[in-house]
């Protein structure tokens, strides 16, 4: 927007401030349908308007990318970031900014050609800040998803000690490459740290196995073997067994057991311990 139009917009915004805010809030409140209090909305709108007025001040031409508009960009980022975290939709966030158009139209009739041309110019700028808002909204959402994925990664890969020299990894949920990698590294490190010659990978909680996941499990077993530890896989569910065979994955000489209990009994015997059930006590 050139300097002249900026000056006109500045005058318009400052002289009709109250009416503008009223219209703006009314437009936006309609779309948000009571999910945000009017007082809160008014505060946000006034904040954006204040920043816009500040950016238009000084007689230079108004552009979103310049240093003059730094404050405006910060306010918009904060607004859209908050909206993203509070679970508002993209439309609802964008409308908060586009409400300014309606408000401008309401306070400045466009019945002559000059006014109309001005309005189109303001409108273009509002589109620009609207796009900016949408972009930061998307960024905030992406950051949210990345955070959650990381939290999921951390919480889902414990390596537990089952017995002297026996550690186990109960895998739960969906295994993707990133998680499989983390599991693999953590398991191998635990083997070294605890000097356990046996590891059990329990996949009872794994909902599906594809070739890649199977490949990762196989690699883990191979790596453990290279380091001098034996791996047993337990808890393969019927569908998964069918998938493994259907995909033609070779588990070859890797020991697989039906349950974690069987696997533990197996490694204890392999480690030289006797596992036996005592005779049932007679009930007198």
């Amino acid at each position: 927007m050139d300097a002249e139009a900026t000056a006109r917009l500045h005058t318009l915004l400052t002289t009709h401030r109250d009416a503008l805010v009223k219209h703006w809030v009314a437009t936006v409140a309609q779309t948000l349908r009571g999910r945000q209090s009017e007082a809160e909305l008014q505060r946000q709108v006034e904040e954006v308007l204040g920043a816009l007025v500040a950016a238009a001040e000084g007689g230079r031409s108004l552009e979103l990318a310049t240093a003059d508009s730094g404050e405006l960009r910060a306010v918009l980022s904060e607004l859209s970031g908050n909206r993203a975290r509070q679970g508002f939709s993209a439309t609802e966030t964008a409308v908060t900014v586009f409400g300014l158009k309606e408000a401008l139209l309401a306070i400045q009739p466009t019945n002559d050609a000059k006014r109309l041309r001005e309005y189109v110019e303001y409108s273009r700028f509002v589109d620009e800040i609207g796009l900016f808002t949408f972009e930061t909204y998307a960024k905030a959402r992406e950051a949210l998803i990345a955070d959650q994925a990381e939290q999921l990664l951390e919480l889902s890969t414990p390596v537990v000690k089952l017995w002297d020299g026996v550690v186990a990894v109960p895998l739960v949920g969906t295994l993707d490459s990133a998680r499989a990698q983390v599991v693999m590294e953590r398991l191998l490190q635990t083997l070294v740290d605890t000097a356990s010659p046996y590891a059990i990978i329990d996949i009872t909680g794994v909902s599906a196995v594809d070739t890649q996941v199977a490949q990762h499990i196989l690699k883990t077993v191979m790596a453990a073997r290279l380091m001098g530890a034996d791996c047993v896989i337990s808890g393969i569910r019927p569908q998964i067994a069918q998938t493994i065979v259907a995909l033609g994955i070779e588990f070859s000489d890797i020991v697989t057991k039906a349950s974690l209990a069987d696997a533990l009994a197996h490694v204890l015997r392999a480690g030289g311990a006797d596992v036996a059930r005592r005779a049932a006590r007679s009930v007198a």
Partner: protein
């Protein structure tokens, strides 16, 4: 020139590799080991690679060769202390240490060799050797 020291522990030879192995050094280690196995009549060789950050195909092949040489001289080879990162790399490269036995640390390696010797030579304690029946556990 550098040499990798070979230590004698009873009838077991212990080699701890602490430096980067070059071709020359590796060849010399092979020769030294063969000599020492014959000289001491050792029955086991433990190669400790805890200090190695990288095991490439060259070192992998060297370990296999040492294992094969020892085998001919009636000594069992155990490679101990491989780091997780090294193991992962070897698997990713598709290298398996053919004919080499592995253990997590020197202690477990010694135990492994001891067990094999016991199996081969001294069936003293019948209980210890007996294959464990799948008792009524399942």
């Amino acid at each position: 020139m550098d040499r990798v020291p070979v230590l004698t522990l009873g009838d077991i030879l212990l080699v701890s590799i602490q430096i980067d192995l070059e071709d020359q050094l590796a060849v010399r280690l092979q020769e030294d080991l063969a000599d020492r196995i014959v000289a001491t009549g050792a029955h086991g060789v433990i190669i400790d690679i805890t200090a190695l950050d990288i095991v490439d195909s060259f070192i992998g092949r060297m370990l296999s060769t040492i294992a094969a040489i020892s085998k001919v001289l009636d000594a069992e080879t155990v490679v101990v202390g491989m780091r997780p990162a090294v193991a992962i790399t070897l698997v990713e490269l598709g290298l398996s240490l053919q004919g080499v036995r592995t253990a997590l640390n020197v202690e477990l390696g010694l135990r492994l060799l001891g067990r094999n010797r016991a199996d081969r030579l001294e069936p003293v304690d019948a209980d210890a050797i007996e294959p464990l029946e799948p008792t009524a556990a399942t």
